[in-house]
């Protein structure tokens, strides 16, 4: 029995298996946002349709759901009805805002006309707001509480249950 081989081998095996065991089940694509627990970066952007500027700070006092999306994003088509339905259901209790980047106003208007809308959609023309929020892909959704603090972030299209569970976090 060569004890050196055994000891080194067991050490390598134990270390490797322990590390894999500990990280298994985590989503490797998920990037922790450093913004969670911090004030939401503020923005003033032009709303599609009305052309009125919308300032995030005006919405203070109410939980806000900020959804980044684009018309060229296929999963956003799937998520849109979920957002619209929940925004209607929650009414004045929660403010939804859609932020579109890397897109044209015509296309957005066409999209909203065809698929309905229930909350303001603003255009992030130079993509600065998306950068400030560290958006890695669309759709991506941020949940901001009454005090203007980011409580959570979700990457990818949400279904109704996921959206409601996150909204519940900002309603508290």
């Amino acid at each position: 029995m060569n004890k050196t081989v055994l000891a080194i081998g067991i050490l390598i095996t134990a270390a490797l298996v322990a590390v894999f065991f500990l990280v298994m089940g985590k989503d490797p694509g998920h990037i922790d946002s450093p913004l969670i627990g911090r004030p939401a970066p503020t923005f003033t952007l032009r709303a599609v349709g009305s052309g009125q500027p919308l300032n995030l700070e005006q919405l203070r006092g109410k939980p806000v759901v900020i959804n980044f999306w684009a018309t060229w994003c296929m999963p956003c088509y799937q998520e849109h009805p979920v957002l619209v339905q929940n925004a209607r259901m929650l009414g004045d209790n929660v403010q939804f805002v859609g932020v579109v980047f890397n897109d044209t106003e015509d296309k957005i208007q066409q999209f909203l006309n065809a698929r309905g809308s229930a909350y303001p959609t603003v255009i992030d023309e130079a993509g600065k707001t998306a950068i400030a929020y560290g958006v890695g892909g669309v759709p991506e959704t941020f949940f901001v509480d009454k005090a203007g603090k980011i409580v959570a972030k979700y990457e990818g299209p949400m279904d109704g249950d996921t959206l409601q569970s996150y909204v519940a976090k900002v309603m508290q």
Binding site: M1, N2, K3, V5, L6, G9, I10, I12, T13, L16, V17, A18, V19, F20, F21, L22, V23, M24, G25, K26, D27, P28, G29, I31, D32, W72, C73, M74, P75, N102, T104, D106, G137, V138, P139, E155, G156
Partner: protein
């Protein structure tokens, strides 16, 4: 019905593998002819079950039998037949079944080719192979069952992962990779059997070496195909990103390459037995690690299958295989005694030793770089990544040193070399080294590592050509003409030697092409309007216009460019931006004008169809096509070395033929 037949065959394979493994280990203990014969029969039976199950799945796919779970998941009536056939490996469950299929072929092949030889080792070998088979059959039977029955079968399905249909290379890369990965099971079984017996002679080294070389050839080509695919599809102008899963395919290749070299020293000098066996074991274990890395969803990578439930199962298998190998090694490594010794450092075997240490160092370097982010996340909860700078800083010097050995090693004789003799052998090839490095410098390369690589490359090329030529020259001296001499020296007698120098020639070109292409690449970003022309070096790029195209599974924006060189039109390139239904980000699909001298590569950054404006990245990379060609050369060289030397005529003449014309098995 089809699903039930498949399910039955998988369960039967599980039963057969379990029984066969037990019989195999029993045969390894008692070593009677009957017991080994029974183990061989069970190995064939297992192969039949697994191949049958795979054929049943192909049948279900081709007949669009949506009652079968996997067909419901990846099948579609809308896709062409070839897509339907290859969708066997387009998704997790099918690819594990495909894995079992390849394992079955390898096991049956290994049993067939060893015939009645090595009876002492065959029982345990079959036992180990079938133990691995138990694990894969279990995966297919339970956690990754592709034959699950669908309660409400739909009329049509979604079709396979759209990326599979994006490029031909995506279809051939996985089978090559599996042939490389799965094949490592066979030398693992042989090496384990040698350890269980506690002895390893020259006779048994032959099947170990051959069974290692075959998957090595496939793995070599698979790694290249993966890089080529990334280059043609992913749009960042490169082919290797040190992605964890790319690394996972490289790790067993490195240890297998080391093992193929140390086996030669073992054969010649009777030393490095335990070391060679350890490397063979490590190659297999690293393929299991690679499988875990790809299938567990632990890493974020272009390769990762979606989060799957089989991760924990593979981890258990990995841990079990590691423990088995380590306990076995620690118990028996000392009984594999050296029969000879290594005389001096400045000798061929001395260089082989250094080569081995470098390969193992490279393996550890890459393994640590790959696993480090996981270690940090597991223990500190912080996210980080280890990127290019680390890998480049570590791998470039080691790779260059290996290229140096590729020249110096074969130039030195076996045994202790005298100083004068060593110098006489080592100096002449430096001329070609200086010439190649000088040519590189004249053509504009000023990077230290590139020039050093060119020097070593020229050196190694000279040595390789001289080594290929010397047996031919010896025959010609004896009065044979060139044709006969080449035929006799390379094709008939020295196939193994000739093949290994073909591999070396391929490796030299590969390393040089990697160094030149990565340090002499230029890139430009351009913004163009329709009709506008930009000049990039000798090339002119004219934007001809862009359009949207709706396809069943994706929305594509295609931009067209006319490329001119010195004012003459040479190509029209059409890079595109593809938005797949299931993905959050659009995927650019570049277009390449490729020549042996270099590639002209356009990737779309942004495109606006209404205003007809585009932003593109243009990459000019010299010599990149040589990487693909030379790696194929390496794979072919390996296959040439694998073809056994022609059997003596007596053996052929004495083979009895049974009535009916079927040759009897010897």
């Amino acid at each position: 019905m089809t699903g039930s037949v498949g399910q039955f065959l998988v369960l039967l394979s599980l039963l057969v593998a379990t029984t066969g493994a037990m019989i195999g280990f029993y045969a390894g203990r008692v070593r009677t002819k009957e017991a080994v014969e029974w183990a061989r029969k069970f190995a064939y039976l297992y192969a039949a079950c697994m191949i049958g199950a795979t054929l049943v799945m192909e049948y279900a796919l081709l007949t669009h039998d949506f009652r079968v779970g996997y067909v419901e998941q990846v099948g579609s009536r809308a896709v062409p037949m070839w897509v339907t056939i290859v969708s066997l490996w387009s998704s997790l469950e099918g690819s594990i079944l495909f894995w079992g299929f390849i394992l079955a072929i390898y096991i049956a092949g290994a049993v067939r080719f060893t015939k009645n030889e090595h009876a002492d080792f065959m029982g345990d070998s079959i036992g180990v192979w079938l133990s691995c088979a138990i694990f894969f059959s279990y995966l297919i039977a339970a956690p990754a069952n592709p034959f699950g029955l669908v309660a409400n079968p739909p009329f049509d399905g979604p079709g396979p992962n759209p990326l599979l249909q994006n490029h031909l290379l995506m279809i051939i890369h996985p089978p090559f990779l599996y042939l490389g990965y799965v094949g490592m099971t066979i030398p693992f079984g042989f090496a384990s059997a040698a350890l269980m017996r506690g002895r390893l002679g020259a006779g048994f080294l032959r099947p170990i070496r051959a069974s290692l070389l075959l998957p090595w050839c496939f793995l070599t080509i698979a790694i290249m195909l993966g890089g080529w695919w990334a280059y043609e599809v992913l749009g960042w102008g490169g082919y290797w990103a040190w992605d964890p899963v790319e690394n996972a395919s490289l790790l067993p290749w490195l240890t297998a390459t080391a093992a193929l070299h140390s086996a030669i020293v073992m054969e010649r000098r009777g030393v490095l037995k335990g070391w060679t066996v350890t490397l063979v074991q490590a190659s297999f274990l690293l393929t299991v690690l690679g499988t875990f890395m790809t299938r567990s969803g632990v890493f974020n990578s272009v390769h990762s299958f979606t989060q799957s439930a089989i991760g924990p199962t593979i981890l258990v298998f990995l841990a079990a295989a590691l423990l088995f190998a380590i306990v076995l090694l620690s118990m028996r490594i000392d009984s594999l005694e050296a029969e000879g010794r290594i005389d001096g450092a400045v000798s061929r075997e001395g260089m082989f030793l250094v080569n081995n240490l470098l390969f193992v160092l490279l393996t550890f370097t890459i393994l640590i770089g790959t696993a480090f982010p996981l270690i940090v996340e597991a223990f500190k909860g912080k996210q980080m990544s280890v990127g290019r700078p680390y890998f480049d800083a570590m791998v470039v010097p080691i790779g260059t040193a290996l290229l140096f050995l590729l020249g110096v090693g074969p130039a030195l004789p076996w045994g202790r070399a005298k100083q004068g003799q060593a110098l006489r052998l080592l100096l002449p090839p430096a001329a070609l080294g200086v010439l190649v490095a000088g040519a590189g410098f004249a053509l504009g390369s000023s990077n230290f590592w590139t020039l050093l690589t060119l020097f070593f490359g020229g050196y190694a090329a000279h040595v390789t050509m001289a080594e290929m030529w010397s047996p031919v020259a010896a025959r010609m001296k004896r009065g044979e003409n060139v044709g006969t001499a080449v035929m006799q020296a390379q094709v008939r007698r020295g196939r193994r030697r000739f093949g290994s120098y073909v591999v070396h020639a391929g490796a030299v070109i590969t390393i040089v092409a990697i160094a030149v292409s990565s340090t002499m690449r230029t890139s430009r970003e351009l913004q163009l309007e329709k009709g506008q022309t930009a000049t990039v070096g000798k090339y002119g790029v004219t934007f001809l216009g862009a359009e949207d195209r709706q396809e069943p599974h994706r929305l594509s924006t295609i931009a067209r460019f006319r490329i001119t060189k010195n004012g003459k039109e040479i190509a029209t390139l059409a890079p595109r931006m593809n938005q797949y239904q299931t993905m959050r980000e659009p995927i650019g699909s570049p277009d390449v004008y490729s020549t042996l001298a270099g590639d002209f590569y356009i990737s779309l950054m942004n495109v606006d169809v209404p205003t007809q404006r585009v932003g593109i990245s243009v990459y000019q990379t010299p010599m990149i096509a040589w990487i693909w060609i030379s790696v194929i050369l390496m794979g072919l060289g390996g296959l040439i070395a694998l073809i056994p030397a022609r059997a003596p005529r007596v053996a052929i003449a004495s083979e009895p033929v049974l009535p009916g014309g079927v040759p009897a098995e010897s």
